[in-house]
Amino acid sequence: MADQGPLLELRDVWKVFSGVPVLKGVYFDLRPGEIHALLGGNGSGKSTLMKIIAGAYRLDAGEMRLLGRPVRVESPSAAQRLGIYMVPQEPHVFPHLTVRENLSLGLDLDPETFRRKLATVLDHLDFEVDLEEPAAFLSIAQQQLLEIVRGLLRDARVLIFDEPTSALTFREAEQLFDQMRRLTERGIGIVFISHRLGEVMEVAHRVSVLRDGVMVLRAPRERLTPHDLVRAMLPETAEEGEGPAELERARRGERPVLEVRNLTSEAFRDASFDLYPGEVLGIAGLVGSGRTELAEAIVGLDPHARGEVRVGGVLLPRRTPAICQRHGLVYVPEDRHAHGIFLDLPSLYTMTAGILPRLGRFLLASAKERRIGERFVDLLNIKLQGLDQIAGTLSGGNQQKVVLAKALAGEPKVVILDEPTRGIDASARRDVYRLIRRLTAQGLGVILISSELEEVVELADRVLVMYRGRIVGELEGDAISLERVTEASFGMALEAAS
């Protein structure tokens, strides 16, 4: 492996999305037989970089070289012809076709050659599978192997694994690592993207860290500690422990407004916690850690979840969003366009959508409706031409405020905010923060889910950190710091914080 020229090399790569640079002159290289881990927080640009290598995006400036030769990769299939194969986070499976059909699709081989090649590859990987079974019956780990087989059938020399372990069990992940090591013995280079530092330290030969579109670290694994990696991913200006210290509340005697006990689903296990009136409870964790699924299970969007949820002391055995709303529990989903707002209707319609029964049995009391709307426009500082402005024509920040108005119109006891400030500008963000503080001062309980750890650190009185579907830590008051939350999110055990 030593003293060899790189298999793949990217020099000074730039990528700009609608005027915003996402990659700023990135260098990356991969040697034959190497597992090179690529790390970075959410939005650091690592997915973009991988998509450029795999042909899904084109680079705006810079150069990509394969075995020293400059190459242009115009499409995923062009990349595959060059021997670059990306095993996507969600394997591309055709559930109704058989495994064999899934594997042969897109390959230009005669049946006999295909059969022989497939046999060799399956044998090498020790992958035992019924080729005539529909792919729908494969487990996620098997689907990933199917993708690896696809890559090998295309004679891939570069394999990219995009968070391959996020949906695997611990045992399945170990098996995958064995496969990866075996592949490197054949000179294949592997780019390994992961959020889990433990895994990275276990399998990688080298580690690169991206932060804000800049490569901030590249070093052999032996010279690194997990702390180095966390530090590299943190923003340089991170100020420690600036949580709202004034909120030293005496809530010991109070009853929780929300109690969650042993909630379990496919995506997370055994979540138990309480939320007190006037408290902001942050739930931190990386994408795929189970945060959103937890919120959805609490409000009844996942019918397969098991466990108990109590609101104001009342057990809700059967939960739907409507039932939860009646008990004062509201969920503001992450994807406001898909689940939160009527884009083609007047803004007011969204704001009052949840309280229509209160506005009249059959005919709606329009004056009352408008009064409520105006109250929220003031309260949230929503900038619109009038209550009838079509919601889709508002800016992202104002749309989000309209969604919040809808959630608050029913005067709930608990609000779950999932990524409340995603894609909105700084001033709207400040308004949302101010609102959250104001609401909690009036006794509302808020659960704040955010992948922006800075936001959690700034707003939360208490933070639960999720990692691989479990609540792995709880931080409170001054113990909440960016570094601690980050470490826990990446799976480094929390030292007992008290």
């Binding site: 076709l97 529909p134 496919e266």
Partner: protein, 332 residues
């Protein structure tokens, strides 16, 4: 497992046999060879249109213009015949018309990116309108004897068109089963993003599907023109919806990627048989449509219910399995 996925064909075939047997108990005439052949004969044009529609539905599309395309092809067939063209040339002209009609839909959907339902709703009106423009609105009658003669040929007591359609069905089934490009229809409908990622020709495949739908509509036009002996302005009107219904009954999933030519054919046969059997049962014809609708909903609901139950059990088992593993202290 494979059987589970294909059971829809079995289910519908079983229902079809039951329907015929039940009718036979009430009215033994229904079971006579001639009656059964007549039922099959009456289903041919719907069967062909359904087969063409199947390709579109497999790719997760929809084509509601196939009835109009068939009507337009029939008009071209009738006009060219009455102009004195030889039968073979007139049939070729009709088939070309169908191909072209399908290709126009294909251009709209794949190149101009018009949503399939909108594109084909538009051409549904355009093709039906062209029929009237070409003929001035009157029926095409007095067709030469040679086209009607096709329908009179019999082999072993079975009309030529039944044999021909069976041959087309067999060929379609074989090609769909074995040919690599046919696999693309399934792949594109099953997982369009994955198909693109693997470098499959997604848009050419969709293009081919709409063109095939037009071609099969033209085949149907030849059959029904010969059977009826004239071309009305309402020819094949409403067949687009019947063809979609037949596909659904036959197990071709509207969400794409699932279904077989055999299933589609059985679906079309079933939809026609319902009409014929009602006649044998002495039920007034005004009940036909309502009855067909009820059958459609029944079959689809049964199927949906079975699938949903299976999916629910699978997910419950997964949650419980993880919990059990946890309880044994699975994670190290």
């Amino acid at each position: 497992m494979r059987r589970w996925l294909t059971s829809r064909e079995a289910l519908v075939t079983g229902l079809l046999v039951l329907l015929v047997l039940f009718t036979g108990l009430v009215n033994p005439n229904a079971l006579k060879f001639r009656s059964l052949v007549e039922v099959v004969n009456a289903s041919l044009s719907l069967l062909l249109i359904t087969l063409g529609e199947m390709f579109v539905i497999l790719t997760r599309g929809i084509d509601v213009s196939v009835g109009s395309a068939a009507g337009l092809s029939a008009v071209v067939l009738g006009l060219t015949l009455n102009l004195g063209w030889p039968l073979s040339l007139a049939i070729l002209a009709a088939l070309a018309t169908g191909l072209l009609a399908g290709a126009v839909n294909a251009v709209g959907v794949t190149l101009l990116r018009v949503p399939p339902i909108i594109m084909t709703l538009g051409t549904l009106g355009i093709y039906r309108g062209l029929m009237r423009i070409l003929t001035g609105g009157s029926w095409i009658e007095n067709l030469p004897q040679n086209i009607k003669a096709l329908n009179l040929w019999h082999l072993l007591g079975v009309p030529f068109f039944v044999w021909a359609t069976l041959a087309v069905l067999a060929l379609t089934a074989y090609v769909t089963w074995r040919a690599r490009p046919a696999r693309y229809f399934y792949a594109v409908g099953d997982n369009p993003e994955g198909a693109y990622f693997l470098g499959l020709p997604v848009r050419p495949t969709q293009f081919a599907a709409y063109t095939l739908a037009g071609f099969f509509a033209a085949l149907a036009a030849v059959v029904f023109t010969s059977q009826i002996g004239f071309v009305s302005m309402n020819a094949a009107e409403g067949y687009e919806l019947k063809a979609i219904a037949a596909n659904v009954v036959g197990g071709v999933s509207l969400t794409g990627g699932v279904g077989t030519p055999l299933g589609a054919a059985v679906g079309a046969l079933f939809m026609t048989a319902v009409h014929s059997m009602l006649i044998f049962l002495g039920v007034p014809g005004i009940w036909d449509n309502a009855f067909a609708g009820v059958i459609l909903l029944l079959v689809v609901y049964l199927d949906y219910h079975v699938r949903r139950t299976l999916e629910f059990r699978r997910r419950q088992a997964r949650v419980q399995g993880e919990a059990a593993w946890e309880a044994e202290g699975g994670r190290s």
